[in-house]
Point group: C2
Chain length 245, copies 2
Amino acid sequence: MYNYKLTIQYDGGRYKGWQRLGDDENTIQGKLEKVISELVGEKTEITGCSRTDAGVHALSQVANFKTAKKLSESEIEDYMNKYLPQDISVIEVLSVPDHFHARYHAKSKTYLYRIWNKEYSNPFMRKYSMHVDKSIDVTVMRKASEHLIGEHDFTSFTNAKSKKKSMVREIYSIIISENSGFIDIRVNGDGFLYNMVRRIVGTLIEAGLGQLEVSEIPDILISKERGQAGGMADACGLFLEKIEY
Amino acid sequence: MYNYKLTIQYDGGRYKGWQRLGDDENTIQGKLEKVISELVGEKTEITGCSRTDAGVHALSQVANFKTAKKLSESEIEDYMNKYLPQDISVIEVLSVPDHFHARYHAKSKTYLYRIWNKEYSNPFMRKYSMHVDKSIDVTVMRKASEHLIGEHDFTSFTNAKSKKKSMVREIYSIIISENSGFIDIRVNGDGFLYNMVRRIVGTLIEAGLGQLEVSEIPDILISKERGQAGGMADACGLFLEKIEY
């Protein structure tokens, strides 16, 4: 069997998220598998690194698939980009050793969350950012973010229902930058729970708007209660930006 | 009467262009007039500087309207941004002297045309650029553009039907820059004929792809025949970027 690693970009706006749901094609995984299966001539499954939610975008998602058919990297890339919809692109194809697994071998992931923080909406970025029309204090946001760095039980910051799996994750860094009306929040960590980045961002926004005290954040973490953290930021502002192996 | 100057941004993707067609609201002018008329309490017309085509965007369009109602600049801006659709934004309102006219007083206009020049499509910019998947030689494009600088009869580069009006326009500069997969073409001039920028860009693309010789361009200008210039670049790559007064 040959093993191929794909680096993929997509606008998640019109999809139900990464993960294929049965035979429903309206997912990123479903769209990719359809084209790959046509290329190799048999039903083929792909493994994605991150199961991005409905409406969430990727600047760089990684996936892999195995096939008995030997193909060149450029053959795969050209074929896929020819038949994929315009909101999904394959930007790199690499032939990788048989043991490579897109999910298990990822060491860290970076998500970018983009906020448009002006009174008026941004006509061009309205589908790629969350519009917050009240002025956000970025200094307060940064202070709030410091409490989340490190290894914590993030139960308060997830909407996951399972109680069996570990809710402990490590956040390596949260970097917040401002650039002509945008506030970009980059969260790098070893992995993220369901909706975790969006609830972290929602919490930081509430802190930056003065709706939540920075000093409350350690208690929110300790409480391990789903309802405790701030609201959930919109899906359209979230981008899977980078995966490190 | 009070005279107000508006600076407006819009994503032209779902509109029939700037100019209102009768009572049809699906134009930028129509959307703006509807909101302004509600604000001032009577039917009010606005004058736009450039009549951008269907699907063409604006980073900075200028318009003005007159009203007997005295309003503060921020009142107008807040009201309009509250009631306009999210793909149209008012980014500045200025109270101006009675004689100011958004179209007659413009000294120069800059249009930006954005090309995405990679084999794969760009999921995020697919509605804000033209995708050309064959490699364009930008050096050749620049050489071709030099022939268009200055005062010329641009009949060959317009789809306008009127033969009464002057087809002479002056192009002050064409600046072409490359930036991570994009080719940006900025055309600055005293005014532009119907479809002129898109036909100039179409011609430059054909030159850059080797489908047209740079040396043919002076003859195309001299011919003054509509069919002579290159094809028309897609509307979605074109932005009205700046108007100088």
